[in-house]
Structures are given as C-alpha cells and as structure tokens.
C-alpha cells in the first residue's frame, strides 16, 4: 500500500490550462494493474484523505485514483460552470453540494447501502454524508486554567463582557466573507439562537481577529496569542490536539452545529460504477476505526447524537439554498459586518 503511495505522481499547485477553478494539489495513485481510473475532486487535504484512498485501492486493486484538491467554491465552479469531468465530488460545503444536487448536477445512486445511517445523512440518493464535524469553541489553557470554561453562548458572552481588558484583540472567529465553512456555521447559528448576534456584537466590540482557516486559529490559541476562537472545525482541532499543546476543545451545551462532509456523483461522471463503490466505501467508514483515526475524519456515529442531545446535524434540503441567495447573502454579510467590524 505504501509502495503505491511512493509511486504516486504529484502535481502541486498546477492550474491546468483551460480550467478556471484553482487546483491546490493533484495526486495520482496508479493501480498496479489498471482497469479504470476514478477521478475525484475534493476539498479534503491529502494527509487526511490518503489513507482512505489507499485503503479503497487495496480493496479495488484495478482502480487508479486521480485526486484533485481544491476549495469549496472551486468544486462548485468546476462542476456547475466549467463542466469539468469528475467521477466524484467530495466537499465540506453542505450548502454548495446541496445546490449542485438541487440544480441537477448530480446523478442518483438509488441502492446505496445506507443501512445503519440516519435519514439525515443522505439526500435524494444524490448526496451522501460520511463524516460528522462539529463546530467547537477552542480556548487557550493559560487563559482558562483549571478547566473552568463557559458552557453556553450566554456564559461565553458574560465572560467576555466581564473582562473586556483581558480579551480585547484576543478573540477570533472565521471571516465569513472568505470562508465557506465559517459562513455556513454563522448562518446556521443565526437560525438557531438570538445569542449569536449578541456574541458577534460583543466580539466586534472586543476587536475580534478574523481568520480564513481553523489551523491558524488553533495555532494562535495554542500560542496564547488568542484566548479563544469561536466556530473552529472540531475534527481538525482534535487532530491537532496530539501535535500542539496549550488549548482545550469545548462543545458548547446549548447546541453544537454539526457539519457533514458529503460526496456526490456529478451528472457528467464518466466512471460512475467506481464512484458508487467509493461512496459505499465512505459510508462504511464507521466500521473501520483505524481509517477514522488515520484520516482524522470522524465517521457518522448515531450513538454520539443519542449521548449528546446538543449536537445538531445540519439538515440537507432546500433550506440550505436560502443563504446562498445573493440578496440574502449580502444582507447577512451586512449585518455581520456591522456587528463585528465596529471601527
């Protein structure tokens, strides 16, 4: 298996001509005895996804995998606007994936082995969720010693208001204008609780730092540059926990938005048979704890929802199209900016 990965051909940051969407990395995993090629466009990093790809390949030895890594809007752009041909699109942007399926860019896979998965983990037999990734609060151990941390958004607001001096310039969250994940979480927050807008106001008054990515926020919290960061991608934070010291992960108790990473087969797929096999493989990840730990991508686990009722999976459906509406987006961003950017 590792040998195959050594043989992998890598084009890093190669923007292929005639393609408008930006390719971060493209990796080719040739099969020893190639029968078919499965081309995947994905937003998941190579480190996270390589174990999964290799495990799939060892079960399906005739399949070479052409793995293209790009951003969430690029996946959308590639498939919807540029007609790029991929057999599978994997993305963490549930709203964009939903829009692709709604607008007819996905093909159905009716007999998927959904077995133990809950109803909300698939939509129209076109979108298949295979991970559950909560948005969490990350705090620095130095600023919250002894494990005394806020448990709800209201408590968080109270803590921030109580010590403005301590937190000024030391709170962080996503810049929702730049990050799809941040925008999805913020819009879901705005639906779930009035406390969200108050929190944004408070963070705005504390001169919050805005980030593009979870990694930077975690690094700044761990180093003590930030006291806390709100709406960090929990799965990523957990995978960094072993590598970096100095931060705690908190799942707030009023509610936790859970993002689902999804796969869909584009309508223009040339090799849907292998794509379906790959979806079967992804859906079955719950039964392979070793892959979950290697990739750091937590598989869907119904028991976790029974144990923690605050966990709220974001629901697929036309509701996700609402915040993609141009007018709605601009009015949301206006409110967000007026709350957070109080010059």
């Amino acid at each position: 298996m590792r040998i195959a990965s050594l043989a992998a051909l890598i084009w890093a940051s190669v923007a292929v001509a005639a393609q408008g969407f930006e390719v971060e990395e493209r990796v080719f995993y040739p099969a020893e005895n190639e029968q078919s090629v499965l081309s995947i466009i994905s937003t998941a990093d190579r480190e996270a996804f390589e174990p999964i790809l290799l495990a799939f390949q060892s079960e399906n030895p005739g399949v070479s995998i052409d793995y293209t890594i790009t951003g969430t809007t690029d996946v959308m752009q590639a498939i919807q606007d540029e007609g790029a041909v991929f057999d599978l699109a994997i993305s963490s942007a549930m709203d964009l994936q939903t829009k692709l399926a709604n607008d007819g860019f996905a093909q159905s896979y009716p007999g998927a082995p959904l077995g133990r998965l809950p109803d909300w983990a698939s939509w129209r037999n076109q979108l298949f969720a295979f991970t559950q990734e909560p948005a969490v609060l990350v705090v620095s151990t130095a600023d919250f010693p002894g494990g005394i941390t806020p448990r709800t958004r209201d408590e968080l607001i109270a803590v921030l208001r109580a010590q403005p001096g301590k937190f000024r310039g030391r709170v962080g969250t996503y810049d929702v204008r730049r990050s799809g994940f941040g925008y999805l979480m913020a819009t879901q927050d705005s639906r779930n609780s009035e406390a969200f807008w108050r929190l944004m106001e408070v963070m705005g008054r504390l001169d919050a730092k805005l980030y593009c990515c979870s990694g930077d926020m975690i690094r700044d919290v761990a180093s003590g540059k930030l006291a806390l960061a709100y709406n960090v991608l929990g799965s990523y934070a957990r995978s960094q926990k072993d590598l970096i010291e100095g931060f705690e992960i908190i799942e707030l108790e009023d509610y936790v938005n859970v993002m689902l990473r999804t796969a869909l087969i584009p309508a223009s797929a040339e090799n849907p048979a292998d794509a379906r096999r790959f979806i079967d493989f992804l859906i079955g990840m719950g039964g392979r704890p070793e892959l979950v730990s290697q990739s750091g991508l937590p598989a869907i686990d119904t028991t976790s929802f029974d144990n923690n009722t605050a966990l709220r999976p974001i629901r697929f459906g036309p509701g996700l199209l609402v915040f993609l509406d141009q007018l709605r987006r601009s009015s949301f961003l206006k409110s967000w900016e007026s709350a957070l950017l109080q010059e």
Partner: protein, 462 residues
C-alpha cells in the same frame, strides 16, 4: 335432456363480474381522490412558500429588496426530497433566484379569472424534470414608485410520483382484495340461492319407484310453478298407472273365466256326442280354447312383467324358499305325468334383493317348460347354486332343443319346431329373460350335458 349452461355458474360469473366492475371503479375513485389530495397538498405548500417570500418583500431606497425567509424554502423540504427553484422578478427583471425559471402563464380571462394576487399554478418542464410552479404577484412600494413583483416557486414532482405509486399499489391491493372477497361471497351466494333446488332434487330422488305422491318439500316462490306442474304430471301418471294395473288384473279375470266356462261346456258336449267327426270338431275347439286361454294368460303375465320392470321394487328375498314354492305349485302338474322333480336346494338361506313376483313368474315358466316338454315318467332336476353368481338351473330328460336357433327362443311369440301338439304361446322364455335382465342377470339355454334333454338356467348377480 339438453344441457343448457348452469344457473350456478351463470349466477357466479354475473356476481363476480359486478364485483370486478365495482373493484375497478373503487380503485379509480380511490386513486383519483388520494392523488388529488396529494397534489392539493403540494400546491398548498408551494403557495405558502411563495406567500412567505412575497410577504418579506420590502421597498428600500427606491428599489425592491428581499430577505429570503429560511422557512419559505425549508418548508418545501419537509415532505419530500424534491428539487426546489424560485425566482423573484421586479417589473420583468429578475431580482434574485433562477432567472431561467418560467412563470406560469396567467389563465386566460375567464369567468373564474384568478383575483389579482391569488396564486397561479402550472405544471411545466424545467431542467429536464416536471415541476409544479406557483406564482404570486404583488405591487410593492409607495404610490409613486410602485413595482409589479412576481414571486415564482417551483418544485419537482418525484415525491408526488412516489406517493402516487404508493397510492396505486395500496388501491390495487385493496381493489384485488375486495374482488377476491366479493368473488368468494358470490360463490357462497350462488350456492345458497340454489340450495332449495338441491334439497328438492334430493327429496325426489330419495323416493321409492312406487312413490308418486305430490312433492311437499319447502319450495321457494320461484319454483312453485315448476313443482305444481310436476305434481300435476305425477298425478296424471299415478292415475294412468293404476288404470293399467287394474286393467291387467281385470282382463285376466274377464278373459279366463268365460273361457273356462266355455271349455267345461265343450267337454260336457264332447262326452255326449257319439259321432267321431263331431267329437274331433269339439276336441279341436277345446284345443283352440286352451290355446287362447294360455295366450291370454301369458300375454297378461308379460304385460305385468314389463309394467313391474319399469319401476323395479326390490325387497330381500330367500331364493331357496322361492324355488321351493315354485316346485310346490307345479308339483300337481308334474304328478299328472308321473314326473319326479329332484330338488337340489341348499339348506342355508341365499339372500337376494329383487322383485319376488317377477322371479316367481320366471321360474314358473322355466319349470313349466321342463314339465311340458318332458315325456311321462321322467325326472327333472331343479338346482340352486350360489357360486360366482346365483344360479337356478332346471334340467330335464325331454326332447331337448335339437338344432334350433337357441337365441331366437327368447323373442316374443317364438316357439320351437319341436313343440309338436303341445299348447303354448311362445312367451315363457321371453318373460324369464326379461326378469333376468331387469335384475342384472341373464338367462342361459343349453342342452342337458348328461344325456337327453334341455337345461335352462337363470343367473343373478351376487
């Protein structure tokens, strides 16, 4: 009797046909109503969604703007996983949404033209799928800058198709179940409607052959004319039969008695006459009288046999006794010719169900022949053997049949060439043969195997 269909089958098929018709009608109505309801539900949700969007329209700094309400689209995802499209136009220009989404054509101005602002529905094809579309138009803005805004929401109909499939399969199974149940019930109904006929048939078939009483079983109104006709027919039959019976008995009496008187008178005259030619004439007259008397008796016996054979009344008989009685009756006639009748009749009783009078007549005729065609001072063996079948046999030492056609002897009025001057009518063996046949047996005629003479036997089944 010509068989012309079965009432039961006709009744059953007509009832089943009606049931099938009702099932199909039921299926169609059920599906129509249920699908109508499902479509109505989709329309209502679509209208609610469009209304929610229209309600959140507002005018801002001279233009129209909109905060698409979350619930407006999410409510469409609650029932089915159908695709959803929307579009908002201001004065024909797309404000937001899918700008290729068609707006349903306004219904032509008719008596029931929708009121302005009421939702307009249509079913169209959009992006390769059938979609249900609703449009609501509103005027937005202040008096001066009013704009016509049209909100259009569309949803594919796969959920509806799935519901429709479910409804169809439910309606089908209910319809089929209804049909099967109705068919089973109509089978029962046909059976119970015809039960009185079966009951009456049973009552009539169970009757004995002599029973010609009117049918009194409970009769449904529809069968009363038939039963009345049958009863009146049986009444006539009963009358005619009793007339025949009376006639036979009467005729025997009325013919034989005067003949006996005439014969007695002739013999008196014969004795008184002295001239041989006169005596011969009287003897010939006596012989003719004997022949007439014999003929009349045999003909009436034959008529009696034919009459009784038509409706055979059987009872349990002891065949040994029957034979003994026959021998006893003809004993005097045999004694006149010094003929000994050897009786080989088993001690143990041999039982047989048959008509005693007929069997008696048959045996009398066979034994009578044996006595008649035997010389004086001879022996006749009468035997009854219960072997494979029950067999009466009468063997004599008389003239035998010679080389006559034996099979012809059982036809009516047929006598052999061997009769000489013996009086007879040629009906005796006919009677015996008829009796054997109606009892399921047969008559066999052969030469005596142990020397001179004839052997006639009557076989009856066990």
């Amino acid at each position: 009797m010509k068989l012309r269909g079965s009432i039961r089958r006709r009744l059953f098929f007509q009832l089943a046909g009606v049931a099938a018709l009702l099932s199909v009608a039921f299926f169609l109505v059920l599906r129509e109503v249920a699908e109508g309801a499902a479509e109505g539900t989709q329309d209502e949700i679509l209208a609610a969604s469009a209304t929610a969007i229209a309600d959140s329209l507002r005018s801002e700094s001279g233009g129209v703007t909109l905060d698409l309400p979350y619930s407006a689209l999410s409510m469409l995802g609650t029932v089915s996983q159908d695709r959803v499209f929307y579009r908002v136009t201001v004065a024909g220009e797309t404000l937001t949404g899918y700008d290729d989404l068609p707006q349903p054509a306004r219904a032509p101005q008719s008596a029931r033209a929708p009121q302005p602002g009421a939702p307009v529905f249509d079913t169209l094809n959009f992006r390769g799928d059938d979609v249900r579309i609703v449009s609501i138009s509103r005027r937005v803005g202040s008096q001066a800058s009013q704009a016509q805004v049209v909100v259009t929401v569309a949803q594919t109909r796969q959920g509806l198709a799935a519901i429709s499939r479910r409804i169809t399969s439910t309606a089908t199974s209910i319809g089929v179940g209804f049909f099967l149940l109705a068919t089973a019930l109509s089978l029962l109904a046909a059976g119970s409607a015809l039960a009185p006929i079966d009951r009456m048939t049973g009552a009539v078939t169970r009757r004995g052959p002599q029973d010609l009483r009117p049918v009194t079983a409970e009769t449904p109104a529809e069968l009363v004319p038939l039963v009345e006709a049958l009863n009146s027919f049986m009444g006539r039959l009963r009358a005619s039969l009793s007339r025949t019976e009376d006639f036979i008995a009467e005729a025997a009496h009325r013919v034989r008695t005067p003949l006996a008187t005439v014969r007695a008178q002739a013999e008196v005259v014969h004795r008184k006459l002295s001239k041989p030619e006169h005596k011969r004439a009287i003897r010939e007259m006596i012989r003719a009288i004997d022949e007439s008397s014999r003929s009349a008796g045999q003909m009436l016996d034959h008529a009696m046999v034919t009459f009784r054979a038509d409706s055979l009344a059987t009872e349990e008989l002891g065949l040994g006794n029957l034979l003994t009685e026959t021998c006893d009756r003809l004993g005097p006639t045999a004694d006149l010719k010094d003929i000994t009748i050897r009786r080989l009749i088993p001690e143990e009783p041999i039982r047989f169900n048959g008509d005693g009078i007929l069997l008696q007549a048959a045996l009398m005729n066979i034994l009578d022949n044996a006595i008649k065609y035997s010389p004086e001072d001879s022996e006749i063996t009468v035997a009854l053997v219960a072997g494979e079948d029950l067999c009466f046999s009468v063997t004599d030492e008389g003239r035998g049949f010679g080389d006559m056609g034996l099979e012809r002897l059982t036809t009516r009025y047929e006598r052999g060439q061997n009769v000489g001057d013996i009086v007879g009518s040629g009906l005796g063996l006919t009677i015996a043969d008829d009796v054997a046949r109606v009892h399921g047996g047969r008559l066999s005629i052969s030469e005596n195997t142990k020397g001179q003479g004839a052997c006639v036997s009557l076989h009856l089944p066990r």
